[in-house]
Each structure stands twice: as C-alpha cells, then as structure tokens.
C-alpha cells in the first residue's frame, strides 16, 4: 500500500536533517512529531504512517508515542488551544472556577473545540508557572495570574487576533 503524503517534502527534508543531529536517528522522532503538528495542527494517522516510513519503524510504534505523550493532538484542534493548569498551586488559587468560567463562556466542556473552530479547551498537569497561579497556555505561551475578567479580555483579544499568541495551523483535513 502506498503511504499517503500528508506533509510537505520540505518538512520531510527537515525531519531527515533532524535525524542526522543525533547519534541514533530515532531520537529525532519527538521533534519530528512536534514539527508535523505545527504544520498540520494535529498528528493524524496518515501522518503517523508517513513518519513511520521515514524512521523505518512500524506505524503502531509511532502511535504508541503519540498516545503516550500528551502534547500530540489526535484530533483536529481549534486555532487557539487553551491549556489550563489543574495542578496543586493553580488548584489552590482557583483553577476550578477558572475552568468553569471558560466552559460557560465558550459553551464547551474540557477537551472540546468551539463550533467555529477558534478555541479548544484542554486541561493540563503542572505547567511550571506556579508563582503565577492560576495559569493557562495559549498555544504553549503562558498567561498567568488569571481571573474571570482577565480570561474575558484574553478571549476577546484572541478573537481579534493577537501577534503575541500566533494562531495554530488548522489547514489539514482528511481527504474524502
């Protein structure tokens, strides 16, 4: 069976360069999956198959990595992934009400994406911003010392587009 070409030949070349950086090429796979996610917005199965071919490993092994490491998305996400920290310092400083507020405001539950495809709301374990609790990340960029007002302002800013928080690529959709 021919593997479907999901990501660009430019990215394929880049991945091969990454492989050459390490004494053993397989070490480059987490970095390669990050780059794929940057290009596609998530890591769909055809992309896993394509990366498996580049690394000469079974696609199942790639899947076992994509499922083990939380950061890889296995479904399409919104342009802004809001990742809210749930761990102890944020919890003590009110992460639960912040999550409830976000769920209400965006009309989604944790793990879901808004219908317009702008926001995905996900939870996270400790993000290492404990002195700025409660915190969240917008596409891996920190927003600290959250309050309901600050969350509202952030959502407004992101809806208008904000260069401090680049939107994710969400271009790739499975072919019919």
């Amino acid at each position: 069976m021919q593997t479907q070409e999901v990501f660009s030949s430019k990215l394929q070349a880049e991945i091969r360069e990454l492989m050459a950086v390490y004494p053993k090429p397989k070490s480059a796979i987490l970095m390669a999956l990050h780059r794929i996610q940057e290009e596609l917005g998530w890591v769909p199965e055809p992309a896993q198959a394509q990366v498996a071919e580049i690394f000469s490993m079974p696609a199942e092994d790639v899947k076992s990595l994509v499922t083990f490491y939380y950061m890889y998305h296995r479904k399409p996400m919104g342009r802004y992934v809001l990742k809210v920290c749930k761990s102890i310092s944020c919890y003590l400083c009110g992460s639960e009400p912040i999550i409830e507020h976000l769920e209400k405001k965006l009309a989604v539950k944790m793990g879901e994406t808004t219908q317009d495809g702008v926001f995905s709301l996900v939870g996270s374990e400790c993000l290492a911003a404990c002195t700025g609790a409660p915190c969240l990340q917008v596409n891996d960029r920190f927003v600290e010392n959250l309050s309901a007002v600050k969350v509202d302002e952030l959502l407004e800013r992101l809806r208008r587009g904000d260069s401090a928080y680049p939107a994710a690529n969400t271009s790739w959709q499975p072919q019919e």
């Binding site: 950086v21 053993k24 397989k26 639960e96 404990c130 700025g132």
Partner: protein, 436 residues
C-alpha cells in the same frame, strides 16, 4: 527586582536588561570563567573544585554534583554524554523555567564547564515540550554562541570540542526521572529503566552519561567566578551555597526567590518573602519540596530552616525547592485528591503497583471528598499506600502515597469529619472561595 532578603548568587545577573543576549552576557564577563578554566585547569581539577564547592543537585535528590561526575569512567572507549534535565514538571516548581527564559547563556556556560570537567563532547538539553518560550530563548542563545565560536570544534583555541543539541519533550512528568528521560531521548516512551547499570556507566545509547538539573549547571559559572572557597562559605556545613525556591499557593507574594541554604526558616520565607498568608489567614500546611515531599505543619515546623538536612530531620525532603502553602480554609482532603490525581495522570503505566495503586487512591479519595466515604476507607487508604510504597519500579509510585500518608498524619480528624458529616470541616468547597 530582587527581594531585599534574597541572597542572589545564581541570580546575580537576573535583572540585567538584555542579559539573555550573548552580547550583554559577555559584556558582563559571561563565558570568561569557562574559557579561563579550560586554559588554567585540568578537567580533573575542575571536578575536584566542584566537589569542594559542596554543590548538590538542585533537581530533587540533592546528590553532590562533583561526586556524580567522578563516577563516569574514562576507559570504556565510548563517547560520553551530558543530558541537561529541563523537564521541570514537579508541581509547585518553576525556577528552571525562569533560568532558561532569562539566563540561557548562564546555563550554556555551566554546560561548558561540566562537559570540560567530564570530557564530554556532546550535550543534550531535554526541555519540557510545554516550555515553548524557554525553548525559543535557548535556541536563540545556542545559535548566537555557535556563531561566536563558543561551541563546535576547537573552542577558543583550546582544542576542546563541544556540541549542544536542544531537544523538546512532549508532555510526560515521568521524563524528569533520569532513566525515563534517557528512554524518551532515545525516541521511546518515557519508561524508567532498572538501575544498575547507572547512567554514569551505561546511560544514553548505553554510553556513560551525566544527567544534571538546569539550576545545578547554571550555578557553576557563578561558583567559579566568585571562587569555590567563597561559595562554600555560604549555607551550612552540608548544604552549601544558595538555591532557588518557588513559593506558591496561598501567599500574598508568590515568587522564585534565591535563598542562602539553612539561613531562612519556613516562617521567614512565608512571612518576609511571601508577604504572609493571603487574606491574613493562618497557614495550615506546607509542602516543602514539590508534590512528592511529605507535608509539614506550622505548629511543628515553622522554624525549620530551608536546607537538605533540616527538612530531612523533619521527615520530609527539600526536593525541587517548591514550597506550597495552604491556608486554614483549605480542605486538605480535596488538596490531597488533587495531588494524587496528578500522580495518577502521570503514572507511566509500566508497573502495576503504581498504575493500579494511583487509580485506587483517586477513587477512594474522590468518594470521600464528594460525601460518599465510608469509615473503613481510611484503613483502605493506608493499605493501598502500603502495597505501593517501595514496590513500584521508580519513585513516582512512592511519591503518590506521600500526600495521602502525610495529610492523614496531621489531619486525620478532617478525613473522619468528612466521612461522617458528608461535607468538609472547613466549609463547603473552600476552593470556590478563591475566585477573584
């Protein structure tokens, strides 16, 4: 601005505008210490001096750094590697992130010193995937340093060669455990490995490997700049120097503070550095070294000093330096559930006592918190902890039992009250009160 009572050594240059750039870092005298060491000292001397400085690992275990380096054999005929552990994920800890975001060159210079001492020509920085901003800061710093000839072949005419590879993790607390970090860096799931063999002998790609924490390495340039003897005068006899502490939770001014080891008590840290407990409340409990450290209580431990030995004598651990404060309104069972949920979520699944045990702890605590607890649940919690402690593959499973056993040691009455009355002793959902 530094807090008036901080002892800034590692963070001496933290607030210099633009210190993240190579130009500014070198203008302050950065990289000169490492380059001078390579000309003036033999590698073995650098290791001996590091031993003499008393520097101990700042990642959690507190192992003497120079001693760790000395375990690496020179005669195996294999390449040697340094892995920089920047997988900072221990709940409450956020000092390494501040270092990589603000002082990337100081870390790189520290890496240079360590690699010169051990004779390592390739270093890997394993940075948490979530630290995108830290990654970008380090990436820029590495590019600048390469362009200036500070890395690569024949550095500054010394003949010494060193390459640095910046590597992103992808979300897994377990990868902060050193052997799991190696598995992950080899492109596998982050599963911990059996020891022995220890990484010093058989680590990355089965080659001799040193794994050091970010703060540990970033301290090295400062130690050699100020002089080993001067540095060793700081702190206590066994806990020398300074360290970063991340103060978080219910305090007025949370923050990363650099303190001299053994010279500050928990009371001073919370009241002087942290501006006291939020809302003028009383402190109820303190987690002194990240989520894995047994809790302390102010009545018994407020005057304990922050150093490895004093905290160990209080039957806890200094760990990663994360100090989490809970005020009197905190439902300790709710907080315990939150901590155990973390370990459950992050259990790698390799061994059953941890995989299953964390699941059981979450289930039992969950029903107690939600008013469905049974009187026999307390014994059940004890027995689950007992079946995990010392029986899991790596320390994660042990850590998961710690919040349960230590909160039950000091607050058993709150557990009993919650089970009997179906609601928390401190009122309905203390956490809700936190919304601002």
């Amino acid at each position: 601005m530094p807090h008036a009572k901080e002892k800034r050594v590692l963070f001496g240059w933290r607030d210099i505008q633009g210190i993240g750039s190579l130009e500014r870092y070198r203008k302050e005298g950065g990289y000169a210490t490492w380059l001078r060491l390579m000309k003036d000292k033999q590698p073995a001397e650098v290791t001996e001096l590091t031993k003499a400085s008393g520097l101990r690992g700042r990642g959690g275990a507190g192992f003497p750094t120079g001693l760790k380096w000395s375990f690496v054999p020179n005669n195996l005929g294999k390449p040697k590697y340094l892995c920089v552990n920047c997988d900072e994920s221990e709940p409450g800890t956020c000092k390494d992130r501040e270092i990589v975001e603000h002082l990337p060159h100081q870390l790189l210079e520290g890496i240079g010193i360590a690699c010169y001492a051990v004779g390592i020509q390739k270093a890997f920085i394993y940075i948490r995937g979530e630290m995108l901003e830290g990654y970008l800061s380090l990436k820029k710093a590495i590019e600048e340093a390469y362009a200036a000839g500070l890395f690569g072949k024949n550095i500054d005419g010394t003949g010494f060669e060193l390459d640095i590879v910046l590597h992103r993790g992808a979300g897994a607390y377990i990868c902060g455990e050193e052997s799991a970090l190696l598995s992950s860096l080899e492109g596998e799931r982050g599963f911990p490995r059996l020891k022995p063999p220890f990484p010093a002998v058989s680590g990355l790609y089965a080659c001799p490997t040193v794994i050091n924490n970010v703060e540990t390495l970033a301290t090295l340039p400062v130690i050699f700049r100020m002089g080993v003897e001067e540095y060793a005068k700081l702190g206590t006899d066994k806990s020398k120097g300074t360290r970063m502490v991340s103060l978080s939770g219910h305090v007025n001014q949370p923050g990363n503070f650099e303190i001299e080891l053994g010279k500050v008590t928990f009371k001073q840290l919370i009241e002087d550095f942290g501006g006291g407990v939020r809302g003028g409340k009383a402190c109820k409990a303190i987690i002194p070294g990240g989520a894995s450290a047994p809790w302390l209580v102010p009545a018994e431990h407020y005057d304990v000093t922050l150093d490895f030995e004093a905290i160990a004598a209080a039957k806890s651990m200094a760990g990663s330096g994360a100090i989490i404060v809970m005020d009197e309104d905190t439902c300790v069972v709710g907080a315990t559930l939150n901590l155990v949920e973390f370990f459950h979520e992050e259990s790698c699944g390799k061994c059953s006592p941890c995989r299953e045990g964390t699941q059981w702890l979450v289930q039992i605590l969950h029903r107690i918190v939600h008013g469905h607890g049974k009187p026999e649940d307390l014994d059940l919690l004890d027995s689950v902890c007992e079946s995990m402690l010392g029986k899991t593959f790596c320390p994660l499973g042990d850590s998961a039992t710690v919040p349960v056993s230590s909160s039950m040691r000091y607050f058993r009455d709150e557990y009993e009250y919650l089970i009997k009355e179906k609601h928390s002793k401190v009122g309905p959902g203390s956490k809700k009160a936190a919304v601002v």
